[in-house]
């Protein structure tokens, strides 16, 4: 059913920390690994070992450079998957009812048995979160690993999306945004979690944490004298050794004189 729920009981989603992400693409691989053999049709590849490989992925990592006026450029790795929007335009355009947003937890899913592969939902999504699988002719998208997070056959620590479970940097967090005390709500509040393309009115659930401002070079210079090595203990053998070594040419302070 393509009518969006008025509100959802829970709002499950991800917080992605752009300050912490190292751009290793492990989330991309674990996502493809889990989802190609679980929910729905496999994620096919075309010409995987050829010159022009292509395939269906539900999560992709871009890399950007951000440069403020007069400052050094900063590299930001940027994982992007479905944001499970509150006002999901991909759902309402679906002619068959294959796309829907779940009332109980807000996850946006595709019922692949009803999908005609018209591609209109991918057209409606501003974020490129949906990809039409070339082999199966149906629309694929992030399920928030709906077959992991409620799966009682998995150990409890594995009941989170594959991308979150695998992230070696701890840059991805999974939780319920409807609960103001959840890990994701607190992270969003503390670090100024932001929406992507808010001007389009999609009200994304997933939030991105901006990179923290980097240190400036001038500050390093100012602190340099404080970082000078000072031997605090001048007694005993180590004290004697320090004195003798300081007499030799090439000592920092001697050079300064």
């Amino acid at each position: 059913m393509t009518q969006l729920p008025q509100s959802t009981e829970r709002k499950l989603g991800l917080v992605i920390d752009l300050d912490t992400c190292v751009g290793c693409h492990a989330c991309v691989i674990s996502c493809k690994g889990w989802n190609t053999e679980n929910y729905g049709a496999p994620l096919s590849d075309q010409n995987a070992y050829g010159a022009d490989p292509s395939g269906t992925f539900l999560n992709r990592v871009h890399t950007y450079e951000v440069q403020a006026e007069g400052a050094a450029a900063q590299t930001v790795h940027f994982p992007k998957s479905c944001l499970h929007c509150d006002d999901a335009p991909c759902v309402t355009v679906c002619p068959t009812g294959a796309s829907y947003k779940r009332q109980e937890d807000g996850i946006v899913l595709v019922n692949e048995d009803a999908c005609i592969g018209c591609g209109l939902c991918a057209w409606a999504c501003p974020y490129g979160a949906r990809e039409l699988d070339k082999a199966e002719g149906v629309m694929k998208k992030c399920t928030l690993c709906v077959d992991r997070i409620y799966n009682e056959n998995l150990p409890e620590e594995d009941r989170e999306p594959a991308c979150v479970r695998t992230c070696p940097a701890g840059a991805r967090h999974f939780g319920d945004f409807a609960d103001p005390d959840s890990n994701v709500s607190r992270l969003t509040a503390k670090r100024g979690g932001m929406d992507l393309m808010p001007e389009l009115g999609t009200k994304p659930t997933n939030k991105y944490l901006p990179p923290r401002p980097k240190d400036q070079l001038e500050q390093t210079d100012m602190l340099a004298p404080l970082l000078d090595i000072v031997a605090e203990d001048t007694n005993g053998f180590l004290g004697w050794l320090d004195q003798q070594l300081s007499r030799l040419p090439g000592d920092n302070k001697q050079r300064g004189k």
Binding site: R60, T63, Q74, T92, D195, P210
Partner: protein, 290 residues
């Protein structure tokens, strides 16, 4: 946007076909017998042919019947329902005219409204998409409706009405192009808002997530088409409006009328190619492209 032949054929032909059905339904003195057969055969061939072409790009055309279910939210679903309803009503209307020489005006008017509704719902499939700023305007519906009504009048041989309509269609087309050129910037989306990193400085795409183009890039980023867009606009405008208008002003001949129709259809087809090829989807921003 990738200009897929299936959607260009679909919107061009079905627009023309439902335009003709509209005029046939509204006609106070509708044709009967063989003359009616000829008109309705052309109208149904265009509208049904266009609809059939639109199913070519589907991943699962055998499930197309499901597309009639979500009329509450989906313009594509509404379009399917409108099209089938228009074809059924106009089929009955046509059968009465062809086989019994009977003109049921009420059936004709109902079919005319449904035909108009089909063109409108088709335009809304594109006009509703906030992700494609060039399309996301009510002018898109005005353009589709004007072109459909004009093409139908031309096919129906309504010279007196077709002439002013051709000028109107040409004007609407130019306004749509000019406002469309400003639409992306007016929407305010750029790589800064797309990534949320814009406040920290100037954002530049440094590396794509994949080494060769994927579905998103093939479907949404089509740069080739913009190279000759101004020339193509001129060609489209001349074929769609100027040439047919000139031919209609000349002393009437069947040859001129046929050339006028063909020229108009070719102009609309070029316009539809540009409609897709020039449209920029915001997802291109993530790739540092448009």
């Amino acid at each position: 946007m990738h200009p897929a032949p299936s959607v260009i054929i679909f919107t061009t032909l079905s627009g023309l076909g439902f335009g003709l059905l509209l005029w046939l339904g509204m006609a106070s003195e509708a044709p009967t017998g063989w003359e009616a057969f000829a008109f309705f055969a052309v109208a149904f061939a265009l509208s049904v042919g266009g609809l059939a072409a639109s199913t070519f790009h589907l991943g699962h055309p055998e499930r197309a019947w499901r597309a009639f279910s979500q009329w509450k939210t989906s313009w594509l679903s509404r379009e399917g329902i409108c099209a089938v309803a228009a074809l059924i009503v106009m089929g009955l209307y046509a059968a009465a005219l062809i086989f019994f020489g009977r003109h049921y005006a009420i059936l004709g008017w109902l079919g005319a409204w449904l035909s108009l509704g089909t063109i409108f719902t088709t335009s809304m499939i594109y006009g509703q998409l906030a992700s494609v700023p060039r399309w996301n305007t009510s002018l898109t519906s005005v353009l589709y409706l004007t072109l459909g009504i004009t093409g139908g009048a031309l096919l129906f041989g309504k010279v007196g009405i077709a002439l002013p309509l051709l000028l109107l269609a040409g004007a609407v087309q130019i306004i749509w192009w000019l406002t469309g050129d400003k639409a992306f910037a007016a929407r305010g989306s750029d790589l800064g808002t797309a990534t949320g990193l814009g406040e920290g400085g100037k954002v530049r795409s440094m590396a794509h997530p994949h080494s060769s183009p994927n579905y998103l890039m093939r479907e949404f980023i089509y740069v080739v088409g913009r190279k000759h867009s101004q020339k193509l606009r001129a060609i489209s405008f001349i074929l769609m409006a100027v040439l047919p208008a000139v031919l209609l002003l000349l002393p009437f001949s069947h040859l001129f009328a046929i050339v006028a129709v063909l020229s108009h259809v070719a102009g609309v087809a070029v316009s539809r190619w540009l409609f897709f090829a020039e449209a920029e989807h915001v997802v291109g921003l993530y790739y540092g492209m448009r």
